[in-house]
């Protein structure tokens, strides 16, 4: 497939935003259980706004993918059958709940509403955060299922696609949370950094498994089945045009194998290796800037990772556009 930068930025930016929100809420839950020092409401409010800004940036990027963005509201109608439509509903839902979560913290509306079993005080932020967590996981699922539900594109048609989107989003979000805590001078850098490394390692596992899987399989249809001429030496002589068409532009990446190999090694280093080393160094050196650098490098790596994700997909329609004589 031809990688579309609008979709690359959409999926990576909202992944970071969702991960950052999960990191904030995880931090709040740990603080509630007295496992971590409680943070100022400002920390959660500003963090939520950063998360919201990232989701909004992703939303803007997605509009560049559309031929008619002014009709985008129509995309909410077919949620019964289309994962794309479900994503269109899940994204604003998550944004709304994250906004409410941030607002509740900003205005300090964190007086407990009621107490469960005398130990767990429940306030607005806990409820909004809980609902937001559901929406964020739903959004991860919808975004990944857009690709994982296309049964013709075997490189994507796998639960691994969902796992990759989830782990890579969470990893980059926790990485940003670590950078954010370092920037704010809070004591959560080690906590977020540890979880970022764990999510990154899970991501490494599923992403490498995906690469291995995609290097192994063969498409179940071939040219014989596509044309219906069962001759072992069947070759295309003409595509029906000389100047290219939508079919030759949208479904071919047109990049050399050498460049793709380079991109693959680059994203494996930038997403999985360098950030983990940097975050460990930051922990040892107690650096404030290294977590930010770790996040920056991981995000750039994720752009390459998503680019590679599109080039991995072999569309069966390409069988009809193999050669011109």
């Amino acid at each position: 497939m031809h990688p579309a930068f609008s979709v690359i930025f959409l999926t990576t930016l909202i992944g970071v935003g969702q991960g950052l929100f999960l990191a904030l809420y995880t931090g709040q839950l740990y603080a509630l259980a007295n496992l971590l020092p409680a943070q100022s409401s400002n920390f959660y409010a500003v963090g939520s706004m950063v998360s919201l800004a990232l989701l909004f940036a992703g939303l803007i990027a997605s509009f560049f993918h559309l031929g008619h963005p002014e009709r985008a509201w129509r995309a909410a109608t077919q949620w019964r059958t289309s994962w794309l439509s479900r994503e269109v509903l899940a994204l604003p839902a998550a944004m709304g709940l994250i906004f409410l979560y941030g607002t509740v913290h900003f205005f300090d509306l964190t007086k407990p509403l009621f107490v469960i079993s005398g130990t767990l005080p429940v306030d607005f932020s806990l409820i909004m955060g809980g609902l937001g967590t559901f929406a964020v996981f739903g959004l991860f699922l919808c975004t990944a299922m857009i690709y994982a539900s296309l049964r013709f594109i075997k490189a994507w048609y796998s639960p691994l696609t969902v796992a990759n989107f989830l782990f890579l989003g969470v990893a980059s979000g926790f990485m940003l949370a670590a950078a954010f805590s370092a920037y704010q001078g809070t004591s959560l850098v080690g906590f977020y950094g540890t979880w970022a490394v764990i999510a990154t390692l899970f991501g490494l596992l599923t992403r490498v498994a995906t690469l291995y899987r995609n290097g192994q399989f063969r498409c179940k249809v071939d040219l014989k089945s596509a044309v219906g001429v069962h001759h072992s030496q069947l070759e295309q002589k003409a595509q029906g045009f000389m100047g290219g068409s939508f079919n030759t532009r949208e479904f071919f990446h047109g990049r050399s194998q050498g460049l793709l190999n380079l991109i693959r090694y680059a994203f494996l280093l930038m997403v999985f290796v360098v950030p983990v080393i940097l975050i460990l160094l930051a922990y040892v050196l107690e650096s404030e800037t290294l977590p930010l650098l770790a996040f920056g490098i991981q995000y750039l790596g994720l752009i390459l990772e998503r680019y590679h994700f599109f080039t991995e997909a072999q569309h069966p329609q390409n069988l009809y556009y193999q050669s011109m004589a």
């Binding site: 993918h65 129509r74 296309l150 089945s225 001429v229 030496q233 002589k237 029906g240």
Partner: protein
Amino acid sequence: MTQLALVIDLNVCVGCHACVTSCKEWNTSGWAGPMTDQRPYDADPTGVFFNRVQTYEAGVFPNTETYHFPKSCLHCEDPPCVPVCPTGASYKREDNGVVLVDYDKCIGCKYCSWACPYGVREFDEQQKVMKKCTLCIDRITDMTLPESERKPACVLACPTRARIYGDIHDPDSEVSVAIREQGGYALQPEWGTKPSNHYLPRRKTRIQIHEDELVRVDNPLKKEELPTLPDVGETLDDVAW
């Protein structure tokens, strides 16, 4: 229920592209138009077509066979492009099974083209919506036309009658009989999309006949030349002569 479709006879198609040009001519100015072009008179022309004719060659020279392969939307009975559409712009008509795009609802996200394994949808770069074969829905449903003309433009244009049009759910229709009796097949049947359009394979008429069926062995009136006998002296057969 009716399922309108084309049956394309690869035994007859000569690859003249008359269906391609007549399709573009009819549809660019009709209900499904315009079918825009970019740089039509320049070095790198491209544009929207609902129908393309490709050419394939089987075998190695000199034992080759050329196949001209018209390729358009197959109007699948279980179209994978329809449920993925987020706006409902892609739909399958209930009454005749034709798969269509509502240009006024399409947001141009191209997701339907990703979901089609046949690559028969084409994005209009100028109108920014997805387009595809309509089976000339504005012709075939136009009751003001005489019935003989209520057919897709490509079918009417085909000089070799390689394209047959009809209802594949009606067992007695011309298309159903052709599929049944002449080995009609679907493209990429592995996916289970149940394409409505079918193709008829290249057919050769050969009879199974052996050498001894052409030469009478007994030859009583000596009408045919006597077989030359090996020089091994008299045999038992010589006695009978």
